[in-house]
């Protein structure tokens, strides 16, 4: 019930909002939110339908689980990046940071290195993600270095460290249980990686919508100064946001390297742009203050569907770049248009 302000039992009030306002706003808000998600969703459907019509053997039964599997790692990283972008920040180190976590996973679990048991290795890998997030967070929240610069530096550092630690060669993680995390099938039709991605999406949605972390992240992104002046320890919460993103990065690394049981230390550069594109296509604002987890997942799937579908259509890769660029633009622009229209309704 949203009638507090108009309840007849309240003491007399100079001017009261009238019925139309009352009816209009909550409905409009909900509609607006769903339209926004719907839009990426609609784009996904359109793109999918297009490929079903024009690409070779684009059989949904085969392709959908495949797309989910392939999008799992980047999508997971994008979930974490959504929190950072919600605060108005950015993470350029997400791709190389992922590789660094994967290299460390290799160091922990590969028989050529420490050969630790799976559980320990996974925990330590998550710890590496936490460490990356912590460093980013401290640089940004406590030393006031702009996120773009802090994470740019982190990108270079993690890339360098990956190469140094691995000796520039790829590392094999032979443990079949490690591979099972991604490639096994708890469900008959979905690989575990896809399943984990979906579950992590639920976790992220709860974190964003129903916890202090999410609320503060959005408040900081909307108006950092007002949030600070409400007595909230902005530095602390911002750091926690980066740490959270670091955990998602480590999870992404596990899904990514688990799929093939190996780690290539030079990979990861450029992935940050795909991650950010997925988040933004999903309706999260780069200016901060507005975020959408379902949208991020859809965004990651849209990017991956494009890549798989264009390849299956036999489109030359040069053209795939052009098409992807144009689709990203159209998706973001459509979202902007929709929001403008909603605002002037």
């Amino acid at each position: 019930m949203s009638t507090a302000a108009t309840a007849p039992t309240t003491p007399p009030v100079p001017v009261t909002p009238e019925g139309t306002d009352e009816r209009r706003s909550p409905v409009r808000d909900a509609l607006r939110a769903s339209l926004q998600q719907l839009f990426v969703f609609a784009a996904l459907i359109v793109v999918f339908a297009f490929f079903m019509a024009f690409a070779n053997n684009f059989d949904p039964v085969v392709v959908i689980p495949n797309i989910l599997l392939q999008a799992a790692a980047i999508g997971t990283m994008a979930l974490g990046a959504t929190f950072i972008i919600a605060t108005g920040g950015i993470d350029l180190s997400v791709g190389t940071g992922m590789t660094f976590c994967a290299v460390m996973a290799g160091v922990f679990m590969s028989s050529a290195f420490m050969n630790l048991p799976l559980g320990v290795g996974l925990l330590l890998t998550l710890g590496v993600g936490v460490a990356i997030g912590l460093v980013n967070g401290i640089l940004i929240a406590f030393l006031d270095i702009p996120p773009f610069i802090a994470t740019l530096a982190m990108m270079m550092v993690t890339r360098g460290l990956s190469l140094i630690i691995s000796g520039s060669s790829s590392i094999r993680i032979e443990n079949p249980d490690y591979a099972w995390i991604s490639n096994g099938r708890l469900l008959p039709f979905l690989s575990n990686a896809a399943l984990i991605f979906i579950l992590l999406g639920v976790v992220a949605a709860v974190l964003l919508g129903k916890t202090l972390l999410g609320r503060y992240a959005l408040a900081i992104g909307s108006n950092e100064e007002a949030t600070r002046l409400s007595g909230i320890n902005v530095r602390l919460w911002k750091t926690l946001v980066y740490v959270t993103a670091g955990v998602f990065t480590a999870l992404g690394a596990i899904l990514y390297s688990g799929r093939f049981g190996f780690v290539q230390p030079a990979e990861g550069l450029g992935m940050e742009l795909q991650v950010i594109a997925a988040v933004v296509i999903g309706g999260t604002s780069l200016a901060g203050g507005r975020a959408n987890i379902v949208g991020t997942m859809m965004g990651a799937l849209l990017m991956m569907t494009l890549s798989v579908g264009l390849q299956m259509m036999g489109v030359a890769q040069q053209w795939q770049l052009v098409v992807t660029g144009v689709v990203v633009l159209m998706a973001v622009y459509a979202d902007i248009l929709r929001r403008k229209r909603a605002a002037s309704l």
């Binding site: 019930m1 609320r215 909230i232």
Partner: protein
């Protein structure tokens, strides 16, 4: 002239015969006091906030004062006198060079707004859009923002409680909004101000600093805010009101501190204060301050 409240007829008075105050009374539905002074102060001996020798690097110098529980201390001064800066320093929003702050008799170390809020101080900024509100959040989220700890269990927010509290305060403060789900951006200025007030009421601070609380707010809403301040002090809270409107300062304050050039040039009890005496202190020249206050 017909007076209407919410489009409903309340009464008719012959125009020109009525006093402004009466019209406002009819509008807000109860008796209000126009040039009134605050209710006499039941002087408490508990000092809620004690500030000593507060200075900043380049402006404030040696600001000292105390506010007791249940007292409203007004801050008057010309523009740029430094009243906002005093408030921001106490609140940890601006760095101070020296000075000590004690709340309820205990010295507190305030280095950030979080420290200040933890110590029980709330600050309503003069620039609410910039410093007071998260415009893209709704009424209930803004209302709960400073007290989110109380609205969450192990980090998990209790939305029903946030909503109920938002509705309760929207009603108590008569916030004109279609619902507590309305984005604060869509409210008019006065209602935004009420949301800021609600935020600090929910937080239940011992010391509340209002910086230009009625800036850009119409006469009816002003009176509501004055009454609110009165009721807060009646509840035993210590209240500081910074205002550039002399009648407003006189209307709400038990005691008035007047500032000029980053210093307090004097204190006046409400009984002895009037616009003239305040202006005299507010316009003390800088040269005199540097030597001694004449």
């Amino acid at each position: 002239m017909s007076v209407l409240r919410d489009g409903q007829y309340v009464g008719t008075v012959a125009t020109r015969e009525v006093e402004m105050r009466e019209i406002i009374s009819m509008m807000v539905g109860r008796e209000v006091s126009g040039d009134a002074r605050p209710a006499p102060h039941r002087r408490s001996d508990d000092v809620a906030l004690a500030v000593e020798n507060l200075s900043t690097r380049n402006f404030l110098s040696d600001v000292s004062f105390e506010v007791r529980r249940g007292e409203v201390l007004g801050f008057a001064g010309l523009m740029g006198a430094g009243r906002t800066e005093v408030a921001r320093c106490i609140f940890g929003a601006d760095p101070r060079q020296s000075g000590t702050i004690a709340v309820n008799g205990h010295p507190v170390r305030i280095r950030s707004a979080a420290d200040a809020v933890r110590a029980g101080i709330g600050y309503l900024s003069e620039d609410r859009k910039r410093y007071g509100l998260v415009l893209e959040h709704d009424v209930k989220a803004n209302t709960a923002l400073a007290a989110m700890g109380d609205f969450s269990t192990a980090g998990y927010t209790r939305d029903a409680k946030i909503r109920a509290t938002g509705e309760e305060y929207a009603r108590r403060l008569r916030v004109k909004t279609p619902s507590v789900n309305q984005l604060v951006r869509n409210l008019s200025g006065g209602n935004q101000q009420k949301v800021v007030i609600a935020k600090w009421l929910v937080r239940d601070c011992d010391v509340l600093i209002f910086d230009e609380p009625t800036r850009g707010i119409d006469v009816g809403a002003k009176e509501e805010i004055y009454e609110l301040i009165e009721s807060l002090s009646a509840q035993g809270k210590a209240v500081i009101v910074i205002s550039s409107e002399l009648p407003e300062v006189l209307r709400v304050s038990h005691r008035i501190a007047v500032m000029a050039h980053g210093r307090i040039t004097g204190f006046l009890d409400n009984a002895e204060a009037d616009q003239e005496s305040i202006m005299q202190l507010a316009t003390v020249g800088k040269a005199q301050l540097k030597g001694h206050v004449s």
